[in-house]
């Protein structure tokens, strides 16, 4: 089979990997000596002279890094686009391309190949990852320009892109797991980028470990999957479902177990209850990282995985229910925390957790297309929100506390409007991308056969809260009186073009990104659903049959109304009666504190789990290892020691003789037995 450009699909992950190698070499040979000199070190000093730039001019290697870092991702985007176009040129049922690179892990009947798969689902994912990723790489060039470890940053960022592309392009669960843990690693490295800061390295470690808890479920799910299906390849597994269901191998219980285990992984990676705690802390990383990893791409991996496994989830109603419930509860729960946070990035972090909840809600009601659709639009507007907030932070020399912002509208002529557009998008204002995707989810959570009125109600309520906290953010940041520190205010400036151009491009996509999925009831055409149909099948047709269009329109109007109420409330509290929020907080101090402190979940985990495990381990070591086992050992030794002078003598240093004599003795015994 001739694939044309598709034969070069491997370039998509390989290009960012090339960036890792090149930037890694630069980091090692050009940047390291500079950093060492910085650390007050006399470097060994052979041949790195060219890299040692003057104090004022940036070292030449940084230009090269700034070229390679975004360049390889841009090239990967170009290849991705060509591949997807090639795929789109095929008939819908033929839109599946698998490229086996080499056999990776093989043992007995198990085969896990290093293989890539391009189909409509992975096509959307690679376009988002490389597209948004490219813009964020470009943005990073400006944002990170003051950082010493510039090359190291791009090594990690390129490595992340490689891992994420591996995750979404893998043609089996094993390769997905490679990417899955790989993005976790990069997240760890990038959150802890400023490793000298205790809170940053703590947050990185927390992210890795909490993710590992999820990965534990994922890998067990893969084991059960393999021993049930005899394969981990997507195409094989899904193709075998009818036969194995038919002969009773694949029972509902097994399907439920597999999907729930996989979902544990998704809960960890996509920061859902109860494993969401790492994501807000992950904001310790540089802001472009928050945009790329902790908003647009990595955290959506769980949604992708559930969607990828949709055929399995559809066999397990219990799992579907769990996915929908976890998603809905997380959506509302973290949205409420978002109301009270004052750190601009933390508001966005809880918002991300909440929006991911929507995506799971969609998957849980069987609306996988809607989930992926929201994944895509969210990638646009949430990346934009983070990058814009980064631009704000950049302008304010690192200030993240919204209580020390205000009136920035006039200072930031590009950041403000772009961020405002993103806010409208996430709030679900009709016409913008977020509206179409969120509304699709809300409608499906009501109308689908897996849906429920309660799910719709929670989702709609969370939409209102979302609109509220987002406009609270915008009002606190851009409007009202300046609360900036005078020293900071003097230096407020709009960001360089490398940062503002990505903002503008993302703003465009935040508006038009949803137009590919305009619901029929609004007279549009859902191209997105049509594109995804080969993966998920046509789900919408039969629902439309027993739900009148008027109902859909009414619900849509309802959710828009709720969002507008949220905006109005935010306007009232943060523009009209600005003293009111404090008054409210004072009226319900207990409740306010609980929400402000994120429901004390971190503290509870710490007391209930972390400390217990650590103290228990110390006890094990002291009581069991040292006292008990060694007590027995030393006791025996003492008895032996007391038994004779000979043993005493062996401790004076001639133990070699002792060893030889024991060996000799043993040999003699053997000899005796043989000769007797």
């Amino acid at each position: 089979m001739v694939g044309g450009i598709l034969d070069y699909l491997w370039l998509v992950p390989a290009l960012p990997l090339l960036g890792v190698v090149l930037n890694g070499a630069i980091a090692l040979f050009s940047e390291r000596p500079l950093l060492l000199a910085e650390a007050g070190h006399e470097e060994a000093g052979h041949g790195h002279g060219d890299a040692r730039g003057g104090d004022e001019a940036p070292a030449p290697y940084r230009k090269l890094v700034a070229l390679i870092g975004p360049g390889v991702v841009g090239a990967a985007f170009a290849v991705s686009l060509l591949c997807v176009l090639q795929l789109a040129a095929r008939a819908p049922q033929d839109r599946l391309f698998v490229q086996v690179l080499f056999p990776w892990i093989q043992a007995g009947g198990f085969t896990g190949s290093a293989a890539l798969q391009l189909d409509p689902l992975s096509a959307v994912m690679i376009l988002v990852v490389t597209g948004v990723g490219f813009l964020i790489h470009v943005y990073s060039v400006g944002y990170m320009s003051h950082e010493k470890a510039f090359a190291r940053y791009f090594v990690y960022l390129n490595l992340f892109t490689f891992a994420m592309l591996t995750l979404v392009l893998g043609s089996n669960y094993l390769v997905m797991f490679v990417g899955w843990e790989g993005v976790g690693l990069c997240s760890y490295l990038l959150i802890g980028y400023w490793y000298e800061k205790q809170s940053a390295s703590d947050a990185g470690k927390k992210a890795f470990i909490v993710n590992r808890i999820g990965d534990f479920g994922f890998i067990l799910g893969v084991f059960l999957l393999f021993w049930t299906f005899g394969s981990v390849d997507y195409t094989e597994v899904f193709a075998r479902i009818p036969a194995l269901s038919g002969n009773g191998t694949l029972t509902t219980e097994i399907a439920t177990a597999i999907t729930l285990l996989l979902f544990v992984g998704a809960v960890g990676k996509s920061a859902q209850i109860p494993l969401y705690v790492w994501l807000p802390d992950a904001m310790e990383g540089p802001t472009p990282v928050s945009a790329l990893i902790h908003a647009a791409t990595m955290v959506t991996a769980g949604v992708y995985m559930v969607a990828r496994s949709s055929a399995l989830y559809m066999l397990a109603p219990v799992s579907m229910g769990a996915v929908a419930a976890v998603g809905a509860v997380t959506a509302i729960f973290s949205a409420t925390i978002g109301i009270t946070q004052n750190d601009i990035k933390r508001v966005l972090a809880y918002s991300t957790v909440s929006q991911l909840g929507y995506m799971f809600l969609a998957c849980g009601v069987g609306a996988f297309t809607a989930g992926i659709f929201h994944l895509m639009t969210h990638a646009f507007f949430k990346a934009l929100l983070f990058l814009a907030s980064g631009s704000v932070i950049h302008a304010l020399s690192g200030q993240q506390d919204m209580r020390k912002m205000g009136s920035l509208k006039k200072h930031l002529p590009i950041t403000f409007p772009t961020m405002f557009i993103a806010t409208l998008a996430i709030a679900g204002i009709p016409g913008l991308s977020g509206f179409f995707s969120k509304d699709e989810i809300l409608w499906k959570s009501f109308s689908s056969e897996h849906g429920h009125l309660a799910l719709w109600a929670i989702g709609t309520l969370a939409a209102g809260v979302t609109a509220f906290y987002m406009f609270r953010l915008v009002f606190m940041t851009f409007y009202g009186e300046s609360r900036m520190e005078p020293a900071v205010e003097k230096h407020v400036h709009e960001s360089p073009w490398s940062m503002t151009v990505p903002l503008m491009l993302l703003a465009v996509f935040s508006v038009i990104g949803g137009w590919v999925g305009v619901p029929e009831v609004l007279g549009g055409h859902n191209y997105f659903e049509e594109w995804m149909a080969p993966v998920f099948g046509h789900g919408a047709a039969h629902e439309a049959a027993h739900h009148p269009a008027a109902l859909e329109l009414a619900l849509m109007a309802g959710s828009v109304l709720v969002a507008l109420c949220g905006i109005a409330l935010a306007y009232y509290l943060y523009r009209v009666r600005t003293k009111k929020p404090e008054e409210i907080a004072e009226k319900v101090p207990g409740l306010y504190d609980v929400v402000l402190n994120k429901y004390y979940v971190d503290e509870i985990y710490d007391i209930v789990i972390v400390r217990k495990v650590v103290n228990g381990s110390i006890w094990l070591w002291n009581a069991f290892d040292a006292a008990f086992i060694d007590g027995i050992v030393n006791g025996i030794a003492a008895v032996v020691r007391g038994a004779g002078d000979g043993v005493r003598r062996l401790q004076t240093g001639v133990v070699g003789n002792y060893a030889f004599s024991l060996l000799l003795g043993a040999v003699l015994v053997v000899g005796y037995i043989l000769l007797r």
Binding site: L28, A44, V178, V613, V633
Partner: protein, 524 residues
């Protein structure tokens, strides 16, 4: 292919075993005050041994389970004891690991070992003789000789070149492992007589033993004796307490060899002797051994987490890692056993590297306490990178060697015992906890201790011996086919042998027979 003459290749295994011994004789005649010469000659000998082992790996046929490159000569003919060595898919990579790590270990001593260099090098070379011999011996008696031979140099390495409590640790190491090997000797003798009783021939040939159909009751006791000997060595919980002490007090190179090779003698013993010779007992006792393995995984990880001394932390992590290997071997399927063998190699590479890494910082600061460090990344960027890669390998990140081994082990074990596997998999989480926590406390943060501010990053020699390890980390991680395919036939043969021998031994026995009835005639 290899350019070596055919009759040389026919005796290659003998060369591998005794080349280090030839090195010992050379060292005897070298001046004891020329440390540089002593070191370089030893390094050259170990490097040559490694180079000569390469053609074995290249030429070994993974498609046959038969012993290859066999050298066989009568030794103590009256008792049927032979000099009989050979290599197959099970022993190959352990031999390679030994020859691979020896030059690295020697290189790591150039600065670290200053006193009695001559004796030190002699002991290291004798150690290599014993280790290579253990993995190549096919004759039970020969195996036992090599097994015991390893003990002595390691005892001295710890006892003479070790740190504070070296005598205590050395004796503890010696007694623990010796206690085990005496039991094994008894079992070997029993097996020897059993073989004579059945066949009328006196022999200590392992391959002849394989052919026996050993009565199940006898299997139980012999398995118990062998298993105990090997369990001490692995070490399995609760026989592990000699390990942290031995490691903490051993010199760096001793720790490297101890962790990387000596512990594998235990796991190799299970796979080569205990399991295939006594499959009925092995399978029946699997729940007990599996449970101990899993306890070791979790217990080792938890205790590892709360250590204050870097070396002790790494030592306890070995208890955890070796638990994985045991779990894989006792899965009795191809995935589990191949994973187990690969994990033996992986642990040798990664934990060996971790001990080297601890040694590097110990040479610079003369402390291993985690609390004495912090912020080292800033002044030691190359060290930080190497340490990070090895850390990731140790916690089994995909793309590194550790993942492939752990994955196959857990995949195989999942088929055999799900509950144990689920529990074991928590060890993967805990590994991330203790390793990343250590890394954070040592490498991240600000430099709080002024003494750490002017540390020197790795020099050329240090990079030179860490680099091959990093290559192995990624080679095994990305393309494990090189290693796995050589094992196929041998591992499949073990799996098949377990099945057929079990069927043969148990046919005609009542269905649903309890273990008490099977082994102790206890009936309800």
């Amino acid at each position: 292919m290899t350019g070596l003459p055919a009759d040389f290749m026919a005796n290659i295994l003998t060369v591998l075993i005794f080349l280090p011994l030839a090195g010992v004789f050379v060292l005897f005649f070298l001046p004891r005050d020329n440390n540089r010469l002593l070191r370089n000659v030893t390094f050259a000998v170990t490097l040559l041994t490694f180079l000569l082992s390469l053609p074995v790996a290249l030429k070994l046929d993974g498609a046959t389970a038969a012993m290859q490159f066999v050298v066989r000569a009568p030794w103590i003919a009256d008792y049927g004891i032979e000099y009989h060595v050979g290599v197959d898919g099970i022993s190959l990579w352990l031999v390679m690991l030994t020859t691979f790590l020896m030059p690295i270990a020697i290189l790591s001593t150039y600065k670290a070992v200053e006193k009695h260099v001559k004796e030190f090098m002699i002991f290291m070379l004798i150690l290599e003789v014993g280790m290579v011999g253990v993995f190549l011996a096919i004759d039970l008696f020969l195996f036992y000789i090599f097994w015991e031979l390893v003990l002595i140099p390691m005892y001295f390495l710890i006892g003479v070149w070790g740190s504070e409590r070296r005598i205590y640790s050395a004796i503890k190491f010696f007694l623990f492992t010796f206690a085990g090997s005496v039991l094994m000797l008894v079992a070997i003798i029993a097996l020897y007589f059993h073989h004579h009783e059945v066949t009328g021939v006196y022999s200590t040939d392992l391959l002849r033993m394989y052919a026996l159909d050993i009565p199940v009751k006898l299997q139980f006791w012999m398995f118990a004796a062998f298993a105990l000997a090997f369990a001490f060595k692995v070490p399995m919980f609760p026989f592990h307490t000699w390990l942290p002490d031995a490691h903490v007090d051993a010199p760096t190179s001793g720790s490297v060899i101890l962790a990387a090779i000596l512990l594998k003698m235990g796991t190799y013993g299970f796979l080569r002797f205990a399991i295939p010779l006594f499959p009925v007992a092995a399978v029946d006792l699997m729940p007990a051994i599996g449970a101990l393995a899993v306890i070791g995984i979790i217990y080792g990880a938890l205790v590892s987490m709360v250590q204050k001394d870097m070396k002790k932390l790494v030592a306890y992590s070995s208890v955890s890692h070796l638990g994985f290997v045991m779990l894989g071997l006792f899965a009795f399927n191809v995935q589990g056993i191949e994973g187990g063998i690969l994990q033996m190699i992986n642990h040798g590479v990664s934990t060996g590297a971790l001990f080297l890494i601890v040694g590097l910082i110990y040479e610079r600061r003369h402390t291993r306490l985690i609390s004495d460090f912090g912020g080292l990344s800033k002044v030691l960027p190359v060290y930080a990178t190497v340490f990070m890669i090895v850390t990731l390998s140790s916690i089994g990140l995909p793309g590194t060697n550790g993942f492939v081994g752990e994955f196959l082990i857990l995949l195989g074990a999942f088929k055999t015992n799900r509950v144990l596997t689920v529990l074991a998999a928590t060890g993967v989480i805990l590994a991330a906890v203790y390793m990343l926590w250590m890394y954070q406390r040592v490498m991240f943060g600000k430099i709080t201790n002024e003494e750490n501010r002017h540390l020197r990053d790795l020099n050329a020699r240090e990079v030179a011996y860490m680099l091959p390890i990093l290559v192995m980390v990624f080679w095994i991680g990305v393309y494990p086919q090189t290693f796995l395919r050589k094992m196929d036939a041998s591992v499949q043969a073990v799996v098949t042998r377990i099945e057929t021998k079990r069927q043969a031994a148990l046919s005609g026995r009542p269905a649903g027979e309890t273990l008490l009835a099977r082994y102790f005639d206890v009936r309800k």
